[in-house]
Amino acid sequence: MAETQDGATRRDFIHVASGTMGAVGAACVAWPLIHQMNPAADTLALASTEFDLSGVEEGMTVTIVWRGKPVFVRHRTAKEIEEAAAVDVNELRDPQADSDRTTKPAMLILVGVCTHLGCVPLGQKATDPRGDWGGWFCPCHGSHYDTSGRIRKGPAPANLQVPPHEYISDTVVRIG
C-alpha cells in the first residue's frame, strides 16, 4: 500500500485522539459511580450533634451517638485526671499529653471505637473491666486504655480518638 509518511501520521493522530477522548470519557463516567458511595448530603448534614452535659456528675460516664458510633463522655475524678497527667508521655506508644486530649480537664470525650479493629471497648458501666490502667479495656483483642483513653497495652496502634468538639455553652457541647 502506498501510504505516505504524512498519511500514516495523520491516521495515528486521529486514532490516538479518539482513543484519548474515549479514555477521558470513561474516567468522567467512573467518578459519579464511585462518588455516589461517599456520604450523601443528608448524612453529612447530620455530622454534628449537640449534647447537654449538665446531668453528668463526677465519676459518671455516658455514651452518646455521633455519626452512628458511640462517643464516650467520662466526668473524671480528680484521681483519674492526676493519673492521666502523671504519665511520662515519651513512654507511650502514641505520645500525647492528657491536656491535649480535653477541652475541659474533667470532661473526657472520646470516640468509643478501639483503634485496633473497631470494637467498642468496655469501661462505661461500673461493672465493666476497665483494664490495667483504669480506663477502658477492649475485649476483642485485649487492648488496655488509660484514664485519658491512651493505648497502654495490647495490639491497638493509637489512642482512642478525640472527636472534634466545642462547648457552645457551659454545659452544652457540640461534637463534630
Binding site: M1, I14, H15, S18, M21, G25, A41, D42, A45
Partner: protein
C-alpha cells in the same frame, strides 16, 4: 447518507416516545396558558429572588395546610441564603425530637439538618382540618402534574365564578384549570397577601409566579447542575463522535 437516515429514524422513534407521554397525560383537555419561566430551556436557571419570594409565600400562605416533606432547611442555602440565615430560618421552627431520657418526645428549635416540619402530624389529621380533603405534599408538585409549572400557575390564578348552569358543591371552589373544575382549596393568594422584603409588588399573580418557581426548585433542586453537566457532556460527546467517525473512515478506507 445512511447515517443520516438512521438518525432521522431514531429521532422519529424518540419523538413518538416523547409525544405519546404528554398526550396521554393531559387527558382533561384543558389548555394551559404557557408562561415564560427562567428555569425553562437548555440553559434555564432559577432566579434566586423569585425563589426567595416563593419560599416566603410558601411559609406565610401554603404551609398552613401543605407539607414540604423532602426539603430540609440546609437545602435553602440553594436559594441564596448564607449559613447564618439558614440557621436562623431553621431556628424559627419548632421541631419534634426525642425520645429524651424520660422517654418523652420534646420540641426544640430547628437545625439546618431538619426537614421543614409538616403542618399536620398525619394524613387523617390533615383531612379532618380541611373538610375531608387532603392537601398534597408540595415537594414534587411540578413533576407530579403534566406541564407542572404552567399548571400550578394556571391553577393559582384560575379561580373564577362558576359558569351559569353549573352548581359548585358545598365546600368546593370553581377553578378554570383544575380537572373537573371543582377544587377544595379556597383561593389562597390575594394582592398584598404577603409583604415582600425585596420590595416587589405582591400581586396575586406575582405570588403565583414566585411560588411556582419555588416549587420547581423543590421538585428538582439539582436541575442547574443537571443542565450544566448536560451541556458539557454533549459537547464532549460530539467531539468524541466526530473523532471516532474520522477514525472509522481511515480504517475503512481500504475496504472495497
Amino acid at each position: 447518507m445512511r447515517a443520516r437516515g438512521l438518525i432521522t429514524a431514531a429521532a422519529v422513534i424518540i419523538a413518538v416516545g416523547l409525544t405519546t407521554s404528554p398526550v396521554r397525560a393531559s387527558g382533561d383537555g384543558i389548555e394551559l396558558p404557557s408562561q415564560d419561566w427562567s428555569f425553562a430551556g437548555v440553559f434555564g436557571t432559577f432566579d434566586r429572588g423569585e425563589l426567595q419570594r416563593g419560599f416566603q409565600v410558601y411559609k406565610e400562605v401554603c404551609s398552613g395546610c401543605h407539607s414540604l416533606n423532602y426539603i430540609a432547611f440546609r437545602n435553602l442555602a440553594d436559594l441564596g441564603f448564607n449559613e447564618l440565615e439558614v440557621k436562623a430560618i431553621a431556628a424559627g421552627y419548632e421541631v419534634q425530637d426525642g425520645p429524651n431520657k424520660e422517654g418523652e418526645m420534646f420540641n426544640r428549635p430547628g437545625l439546618p439538618a431538619d426537614r421543614i416540619p409538616a403542618p399536620f402530624p398525619n394524613d387523617n389529621a390533615a383531612r379532618a382540618s380541611n373538610g375531608g380533603a387532603l392537601p398534597p405534599d408540595l415537594s414534587l408538585m411540578v413533576d407530579a402534574r403534566p406541564d407542572g409549572a404552567n399548571y400550578l400557575y394556571a391553577l393559582l390564578t384560575g379561580y373564577d365564578d362558576a359558569p351559569s348552569g353549573m352548581t359548585v358543591a358545598e365546600g368546593m371552589n370553581y377553578n378554570t384549570y383544575f380537572p373537573g373544575h371543582q377544587v377544595a382549596m379556597p383561593p389562597p393568594l390575594f394582592d398584598d397577601g404577603v409583604e415582600y422584603a425585596d420590595g416587589t409588588k405582591a400581586t396575586a399573580a406575582q405570588q403565583a409566579r414566585d411560588i411556582t418557581a419555588f416549587l420547581a426548585w423543590t421538585t428538582e433542586p439539582n436541575m442547574e447542575a443537571r443542565k450544566e453537566m448536560g451541556v458539557m457532556a454533549i459537547l464532549f460527546l460530539l467531539i468524541m463522535t466526530g473523532l471516532l467517525y474520522l477514525s472509522k473512515r481511515k480504517i475503512w478506507a481500504d475496504v472495497h
